[in-house]
């Protein structure tokens, strides 16, 4: 009897979990299904859940001429630069925090976490003013800097965890074999922390990819718009080409989807550590 119940549980439980996940993710699933409908089927009264036929026409409109290709490139460029810049700075800082002893270290690392306390909008106004004076508004560089500041504390926190958990003996062995400090970092520390570096890159990328607040403040010239900016201007206008916009939203959700599947492990680990110490 008991083993029968256990067997039923083995089948039923995953189904319950699957059903709950499908319900909570329904808005996203419906988005993907609709993006694959023929353009004339996107908005129907009453609405249909399942597509009558599957086609990529909406995506073709999105990528084609008159589409949003410029903004895709803008977003990819800004997000990639943000990922590389914030991860580079975070790798250096995390290495410093885990491998060296110096005065004020603890205070500095607390200070960086404290930055999450401030309302982003509080930072955004002066940043906008200063950037205007430095001619950094309406430039990729300004937006990349702002996004980097936003992503940096988390990247640093993530990487510090990775560097701290590396077996130190391997680095020692490399040093004893005569490798320089720099060589040790490049040949031993970084490869060992590769998942951490990748997670940091991906996280910063997604953060910048999604950013609306800094983008709307810093960028006003349409040719520099990122995807979130251009989509936000397209929504609500009555001539809305819903098929294309829905395809755009589905496309915007791809990096987050990849990040969710690949980063979950590290987020779980990171939050577990934070929750224990908190």
């Amino acid at each position: 009897m008991r083993s029968l119940r256990r067997h039923v549980g083995k089948v039923v439980y995953p189904l319950i979990a699957l059903a709950a996940t499908l319900v909570i993710l329904f808005p996203a699933i419906y988005l993907v299904l609709t993006s694959l409908k023929p353009p004339y089927d996107v908005i129907t009264i009453p609405p249909q859940i399942l597509p009558s036929t599957l086609t990529l026409d909406n995506f073709k409109a999105f990528f084609g001429s008159g589409g949003l290709t410029t903004y895709i490139w803008n977003s990819l460029f800004v997000a990639t630069c943000t990922a590389v810049l914030s991860t580079t700075i975070a790798v250096m800082a995390a290495y410093s925090l885990t491998h060296f002893e110096y005065r004020g270290k603890q205070l500095l690392s607390y200070l960086m976490l404290l930055t999450y306390m401030f309302p982003p909008i509080l930072l955004a106004i002066p940043l906008f003013l200063v950037f205007a004076q430095l001619h950094l508004t309406d430039s990729y560089f300004g937006l990349i800097l702002a996004d980097t500041a936003f992503a940096l504390p988390f990247c640093l926190w993530l990487l510090r965890d990775f560097f701290a958990s590396n077996p130190r003996e391997l680095e020692h062995a490399a040093r004893i074999d005569g490798a320089s400090a720099l060589r040790t970092v490049v040949a031993v520390t970084l490869p060992l922390s590769l998942p951490g570096v990748a997670a940091s890159l991906l996280f910063a990328f997604v953060l910048s990819w999604s950013d609306y607040l800094f983008a709307v403040l810093i960028v006003s010239r349409q040719s520099l718009f990122t995807l979130p900016l251009v989509i936000s201007t397209l929504v609500g206008t009555f001539t809305t080409n819903w098929g294309m916009i829905i395809a755009a939203a589905a496309f915007m959700a791809i990096p987050p989807l990849v990040a969710a599947l690949l980063l979950f492990k590290y987020l779980l680990k990171g939050f577990g550590v934070a929750a224990d110490s908190g």
Binding site: P27, I45, L122, H172, I245, A275
Partner: protein
């Protein structure tokens, strides 16, 4: 670099090497400096500058600013716009935090068990948090639409409503909708925090309770819940700070309307700066937000610390 053999003791840094040697300090600070510069320039300086702006009468157009003391703050506290935005923000924050915790804990409990496909399912649940807010708002504006929205259709088919509902049409409904959409986007962080904590609870605790005859509810009440206490305290604090500060979702979904019913403080800041072009008012509002949050955090942590001592 130096290829000459280094003394073994020094090579075995930092466990044996002299601590806080000059070179350690230099290298340590050197590597950390870009991060310090970035954070000082992009976080600490703006906070100071905001504090200064809030004490002046700076507008986007004026080139000269005059020191006006606390006048902006006095104006703010006396304005009905500020008080209503504060109230809206509190309602929005409390409701969204509570719902996020309920949903986050529910999904964490669901995924804290071994089953086929758990690895992918448990990961994909965090997707709503990572989807760009612009896309989230677009999804809901379209799916909640009274004419062609799928939500009304489903509710009609289930006979839960008789006629399509304009979810963003009336002040009360708009607030409820904003809370629902924000909960959808923010609950995954609570979920991750709680799941991370659940996975550190030793299974032997449950086994022991089972031997003692505790049923599933008793096991939840006397083992799971006490173990989750600290992580929930932390999650509620961090989430409420985050939600209180949240701008994108409300601004894009309703613009603060209808009739200012969903206008919270970040939206007020944005409007003050970009529509009214009053930097000082925006800065003063943002500083007030910061002060309110700081006060709230201190009181909150004190309350729980005291209770922990007396318990």
């Amino acid at each position: 670099m130096t290829d000459e053999p280094v003394p073994v003791a020094r090579a075995l840094y930092p466990s044996i090497a002299p601590r806080r040697s000059v070179s350690q300090q230099v290298a340590g600070y050197g590597l950390l400096s870009p991060a310090i510069v970035a954070i000082a320039l992009l976080v600490i300086f703006p906070v100071g500058y905001s504090a200064w702006l809030s004490l002046t009468d700076t507008t986007l157009l004026s080139s000269k600013a005059h020191f006006v003391g606390l006048a902006n703050y006095v104006d703010l506290v006396n304005s009905s716009e500020f008080r209503s935005a504060l109230w809206n923000g509190v309602v929005y924050t409390v409701a969204t935090t509570v719902l996020s915790v309920v949903l986050g804990v529910a999904f964490a409990l669901l995924m804290n068990r071994n089953f086929i496909g758990r690895r992918w399912l448990s990961a994909i649940v965090i997707l709503p948090y990572l989807i760009p807010s612009v896309a989230t708002v677009l999804i809901f504006q379209w799916q909640l639409d009274p004419n062609y929205g799928i939500f009304n259709q489903i509710l009609l088919d289930l006979h839960l409503i008789d006629a399509p509902v304009a979810w963003l049409g009336s002040p009360t409904l708009a607030m409820i909708t904003v809370i629902m959409v924000s909960t959808w986007a923010f609950f995954p962080i609570v979920y991750i925090m709680v799941l991370a904590r659940l996975q550190t609870i030793r299974p032997s605790l449950y086994a022991a309770a089972r031997v003692d005859g505790a049923n599933v509810f008793e096991r939840f009440r006397y083992i799971t819940l006490p173990q989750l206490r600290n992580v929930l305290i932390l999650a509620v604090l961090l989430r409420s700070i985050w939600i209180f500060n949240s701008f994108d979702m409300i601004w894009l979904l309703t613009g603060g309307g209808p009739q200012g019913s969903t206008e919270n403080l970040p939206v007020l800041v944005y409007k003050s700066v970009l529509l009214e072009q009053s930097l000082s008012k925006g800065a003063a509002t943002a500083m007030m937000m910061f002060l309110i949050l700081a006060l709230f955090s201190v009181l909150y942590l004190l309350a729980f610390r005291r209770r922990r001592k007396s318990a």
